[in-house]
Symmetry: C2
Subunit: 171 residues, 2 copies
Amino acid sequence: MRPPGPTIRTIPDGDDRERLVCGDCGFVVYENPKVIVGAICTWDDRYLLVKRAIEPRLGFWTMPVGYMELGETTEQGAAREVWEEARSRVEIDGLLSIYSIPEISQVHMIYRARMLTPDHAAGAESLDVALLRWDEIPWDHLAYPNVRWSLEYEREMKGQTGFAPRGRPER
Amino acid sequence: MRPPGPTIRTIPDGDDRERLVCGDCGFVVYENPKVIVGAICTWDDRYLLVKRAIEPRLGFWTMPVGYMELGETTEQGAAREVWEEARSRVEIDGLLSIYSIPEISQVHMIYRARMLTPDHAAGAESLDVALLRWDEIPWDHLAYPNVRWSLEYEREMKGQTGFAPRGRPER
Ligand SMILES: [Zn+2]
Ligand SMILES: [Zn+2]
């Protein structure tokens, strides 16, 4: 027996790509790439990181980051994620990095943000949160390579404005 | 009678936002913001524009632009749209603009691109295509304000690299 919901992969009439279609009700799912927004947040020379409370990479550290939602700008989404995961209010201050990950159809947009106060606390999706000096960052326990890339670019661009966002390093 | 497919707006178990759910098969639609990619393409001092063959804004001019698809980077998506709509091969060369349109949950990412040859032709979604000098651009018949904004920023940044992408002008 087929599971319920859109499970049939076919090219709908008038389309030019395969989509998922429901065999029961005919609903067509238009899957699109997803936008992930986040921010490297700083207070003086310290960086705001959260320890993930959910899979994947549970227990590893990252900048606050998550799926962009409907009805917000990318900057609003990044600030919302910072609030949800690290309970910090920030001012978004430039786009640091854009990482396309075509293998999983994601576009990550990581901003630079200035904390308005040093206050922070773990949100529901975080086991822990910390405001760390550069040499206190748990480099061997970061959730993803792009956490390191974005931290390094933030540090490199400190005090500068008007720079181009950086992508994945060439491999 | 309810139409088929996901039409019931409710908060699924374990979620914190309303989603569209199908009353027949229970399928939950996770709607996310969509990414639109495009490019301002130039050959010497001329700009590549297409006349839209589809609604909305049928008959108006725009840079090649459209929905990012699964399995591609933003740059690949922009180059694909240029090929599909204007039959031109380009090299993507920096991100010009990012426009969040929260009212319709879209993120537009417009690149700067260099045409590899002056060849071009109307694709299936274009009524016409043209390689125009600045003063030949049909300013009163552009499809959207961001066509003008991106053209102006391309011109302003001519010969420069490493600049920050620009958003919507402040209003
Ligand atoms: Zn169904
Ligand atoms: Zn259904």
